[in-house]
């Protein structure tokens, strides 16, 4: 548990003018190695603690520090001084105490100790496994790391919650040469223990990603039946989760504003936000305001039934926070200090069929295998998207040949309504400094605008 003794004392003895105070402390301890040609090329290790402070007199002010030599009372006063210029009426609402028994997934009690020799052995095995994926591979940069994230939120209302999670991760950056042309791909996975990292999943993905790049051609622009690979679904969700932010819903900047209770997708489209999931090593016990994270159904068989809220947005909607107060916005300063709304693990529910069965179901169409540009391709106000992609032409359910330099475009609301089935291959990835996760299975789309050359 992060030692906040001097801050606890300070919030028990608040300086004059301050009536409430909260400290959100976050500690990240990381170790990673990068491995290539049977040797470690790079090693990184870090240990950084951050304190996010908010205090209220009549209004609320904020401060952030990494300078642990700064006096606790001084930090509180710095935040208080910031509150004096606030024009917004009222002050932030702080959480009342919650109990650890509310937490559903806190399985770690202490920070894991990085064992470099075991990490090296794992990296050796990973490099070897990936080389076996495809004979055209010329180099593999394997990365094995462990990240321990501890967090503790205390406030002057006696809230004191803490959690710790250890996440191991593996990633590969692969180069291949095929008939004189260079190709590259990368992929990553996470687990709660080093020996639970599944390198075969990485191998399969790398193999497919490379094969899908070889001898790619263009396509004729048109509307096609399409299967979006799980990685493409994840890419879309990295931006699209914002549509379900209670804050954006309230201020009218989400295309879903005003549509709560309406059908916004097909019956195959169910979206959830949960504190933990078997497909990822990440888990989230409480948010940065200390609200416990809970399972929240956002879209149930196409119907918009829920939103993600922090205390402020929930208060505007006369509801309760869903434990989604976060700080890492897609657009932020270099240090994201605002309390906004972010997911925990936000994912599209998987179906029953595997990719082969979905391709068979599609018959003729395009399998969109890879997409890029997370940040600029989706407008959350209009729902419009234009996403650069690669893919494979499918004829009678079989892969015919790869295509590249294509874009998929349309409106997310149409896309959600055109989901005819979801695969059983749910993938969950962490995002934005590992502060949350998004996930998707492969998605079968009845018709999708695809632009080619």
């Amino acid at each position: 548990m992060i030692d906040l003794k001097k801050y606890k004392y300070a919030i028990k003895n608040l300086p004059e003018g301050i009536v409430e105070a909260e400290i959100d402390a976050e500690l990240q301890i990381s170790t990673l190695i990068r491995f290539k040609n049977d040797q470690i090329l790079e090693a990184l290790a870090s240990n950084v603690i951050e304190l996010f402070v908010r205090v209220s007199g009549e209004k609320t002010g904020y401060a952030y520090t990494q300078d642990l030599t700064e006096d606790a009372r001084t930090i509180l006063l710095r935040a208080y001084n910031n509150s004096l210029e606030i024009e917004r009426e009222g002050r932030d609402i702080l959480n009342i105490p919650v109990y650890e028994t509310d937490f559903c997934c806190n399985t770690n009690t202490h920070a894991a100790v990085a064992d470099i020799s075991k990490m090296k052995t794992a990296a050796q095995s990973l490099e070897k496994t990936i080389f076996n994926a495809n004979k055209h591979i010329t180099s593999v940069l394997a990365e094995i790391g462990i990240n321990t994230f501890s967090s503790r939120v205390i406030n002057s209302l006696d809230l004191d919650v803490s959690s710790i999670r250890n996440v191991y991760y593996a990633s590969v950056d692969v180069m291949a040469e095929y008939e004189g042309t260079q190709h590259n791909t990368s992929y990553s996975t996470t687990a709660t223990a080093l020996d639970e990292l599944n390198f075969n999943v990485l191998k399969e993905k790398v193999e497919l990603n490379l094969v899908h790049q070889l001898n790619a051609t263009g396509i004729v622009t048109g509307k096609y039946p399409a299967l979006l690979d799980s990685s493409v679904g994840v890419n879309i969700m990295m931006t699209a989760w914002q549509l379900f932010s209670g804050m954006k819903y309230c201020d009218g900047s989400s295309v879903l504003s005003g549509k709560l209770g309406n059908i916004i997708g097909s019956s195959s489209f169910t979206l959830l936000d949960t504190p933990a999931h078997e497909h990822t090593g990440y888990h989230f016990e409480f948010d940065c305001e200390g609200t416990p994270s809970k399972k929240n159904i956002l879209v149930n068989s196409g119907k918009l039934v829920g939103l993600m809220h922090n205390i402020a947005s929930a208060s505007k909607q006369n509801t309760k926070s869903t434990g989604n107060a976060g700080r890492y916005a897609l657009l932020s300063g270099t240090i994201p200090t605002d309390i906004i709304i972010t997911p925990n693990i936000c994912y599209i529910q998987k179906g029953r069929k595997n990719v082969s069965e979905l391709l068979n179901e599609m018959g003729d169409g395009i399998y969109i295998t890879e997409s890029y540009d997370v940040f600029h391709s989706i407008n959350i106000g209009s729902g419009e998207f234009t996403i650069p992609c690669r893919g494979v032409i499918i004829k009678e359910g079989k892969k015919h040949h790869p295509v590249t330099e294509i874009t998929i475009c349309g409106n997310l609301l149409d896309l959600f309504k055109n989901i005819s089935d979801a695969g059983n291959d749910l993938v969950i990835e962490n995002f934005l400094r590992k502060s949350y996760c998004v996930g998707s299975p492969s998605l079968l789309i009845k018709k999708l605008q695809i632009n080619g050359k």
Binding site: L41, A43, Y64, T69, M175, I335, Y372, F375, P388, E405
Partner: protein, 463 residues
């Protein structure tokens, strides 16, 4: 800041198990963010960043460790951790010699007059309210508007085992607008930034930020009437100024040492060869005054410099940091950059621009029967294949700019597209700058150019 003796002890400790080079990077940074949401000041946050990174190299192997606990004893402990890691990596131990520091204090090309920290909140809040009012007055279609004010003062000190002891003080100020505009049936979200490598004097000329906010909202509102472009392959004209992002994404990232040494770039091994149209001369220069990507030194203490990357279509060089340079057997180009101490340095762009050419701006459009005119790029991604989001684009019809188009993302292979540059205008125009996010975090950059044309690009659109 630590004394020379203590700094030397840290560096020697870091090298005690092996390695041929060690560096210590100290950073302290204060930032202010004032948030205006729906016309009222809704949040003020002061941010204090403070930490140290220790970097040890042995040939082309590296160790980077960092922390924000800054006592001398804690830093010695951190240096020991670096030494343990370098030992595990398997590096040779060298005889340690005394380090004699030579102080360097190069002048930052970005002069600032008014420390942001010396200005009252009220003066900054006035700027925000003026910006907000100007933006709302620019169009009745504004549904939601947030204005953020940011300023930042970063102090860095770098000392290394070669005796370098240098530092830099960097100040930036910016406004960010996030808005949703709409009509009865349709809405659009957008954001824009007014960025300056200056102190509070950035807001001395009121018309600068007022005009910026008005133009931002007017452009976003006009996008409500934009139509989808047809799908076809046509000439594309990129306007002067910030459309230089084209170069950042199509080839800039691929010219960074990390891409070249990993062989994930189509430009690897091509120095001396023709890689672009002869009209293309591409430069990255961190020394230009009053530009967002400029600095006195890079984040390894190397003086920034002008680097010619492509000259008349011939590839001349790459952007190198110290480690990247070692991997490529090239010297550093003063391009080792990082957001702060939580990142190891790596080669990054600074101010990247296409040199002015000789072509006529008007002819560039007049000679097109059917094509696309890109006035603003809203961001993109680089790599072997790039993508560029067109945030303001117009259809060209019979040599004239016609109607506004929407929803365009241009993509392709950079090394193919830059061979099709068939016009480069005479007037090089700079831009305000933005952040580039990559392996070593968010770095301030500019990307600019004169008006330029690609003879043919796939655009689309619908059938």
């Amino acid at each position: 800041m630590l004394s020379s003796d203590k700094t030397e002890s840290i560096l020697k400790t870091a090298l005690s198990s092996g390695g041929d080079f060690a560096e210590v990077f100290f950073e302290s940074k204060d930032e202010l963010n004032i948030k205006c949401s729906e016309k009222v000041i809704s949040g003020i946050t002061t941010t204090r960043i403070s930490g140290t990174g220790i970097y040890v190299l042995s040939g082309t192997k590296s160790v980077y460790v960092y922390t924000n606990t800054l006592s001398f004893m804690k830093l010695i402990k951190l240096a020991k951790q670096a030494a343990e890691l370098i030992k595990i990596i398997g590096c040779h131990k060298l005889d340690l010699k005394n380090i004699v520091f030579f102080m360097q204090k190069p002048t930052n090309p970005n002069k600032f007059e008014i420390y942001p920290s010396s200005v009252s909140y009220q003066d900054k809040i006035n700027v925000i309210h003026e910006t907000d009012a100007a933006a709302r007055g620019a169009s009745p279609s504004v549904r939601q508007l947030n204005v953020d004010y940011f300023d930042s003062e970063q102090n860095i000190v770098i000392a290394n085992s070669e005796g370098l002891y240098s530092g830099d003080y960097r100040v930036i100020s910016r406004l960010r607008l996030q808005a949703t505009v709409g009509n009865d049936s349709y809405s659009q979200y957008g954001w824009g930034e007014f960025t300056r490598p200056q102190g509070f004097e950035a807001f001395r000329i009121k018309s600068d930020y007022i005009n910026f906010s008005k133009t931002f909202i007017k452009n976003l509102s006009m996008s409500l009437n934009a139509v989808t472009a047809p799908s076809c392959s046509v000439p594309v004209v990129f306007e002067s100024g910030s459309c230089g992002a084209f170069w950042h994404e199509t080839c800039g990232h691929q010219l960074e040492a990390s891409s070249i040494s990993r062989n994930s770039s189509n430009f690897a091994g091509m120095i001396g060869q023709k890689v672009a149209s002869e009209k293309v001369t591409l430069i990255d220069d961190g020394t230009i005054s009053s530009l967002y990507g400029s600095a006195a030194i890079d984040d390894e203490g190397h003086r920034t410099q002008k680097n010619i990357l492509i000259e008349n279509g011939i590839l001349k060089g790459y952007l190198c940091d110290r480690l990247g340079g070692r991997k490529l057997n090239m010297p550093s180009t003063g391009s080792g950059r990082r957001q702060g101490y939580t990142y190891a340095p790596t080669a990054r762009m600074s101010n990247t621009y296409l040199a002015a050419g000789t072509d006529d701006n008007e002819e560039m459009i007049r000679s097109i029967d059917k094509g696309l005119y890109v006035k603003r790029i809203g961001g993109g991604t680089g790599g072997r294949e790039f993508s560029l989001a067109v945030s303001e684009g117009y259809w060209i019809k019979n040599g004239q700019i016609d109607h506004r188009v929407k929803g365009l993302v241009l993509n392709g292979r950079g090394i193919d597209v830059i061979k099709r540059v068939d016009r480069v205008g005479k007037n090089l125009q700079k831009e305000g700058g933005s952040f580039c996010g990559a392996a070593s975090g968010l770095c301030t950059v500019t990307s600019f150019q004169p008006r330029m044309r690609i003879s043919c690009m796939a655009v689309g659109g619908e059938e």
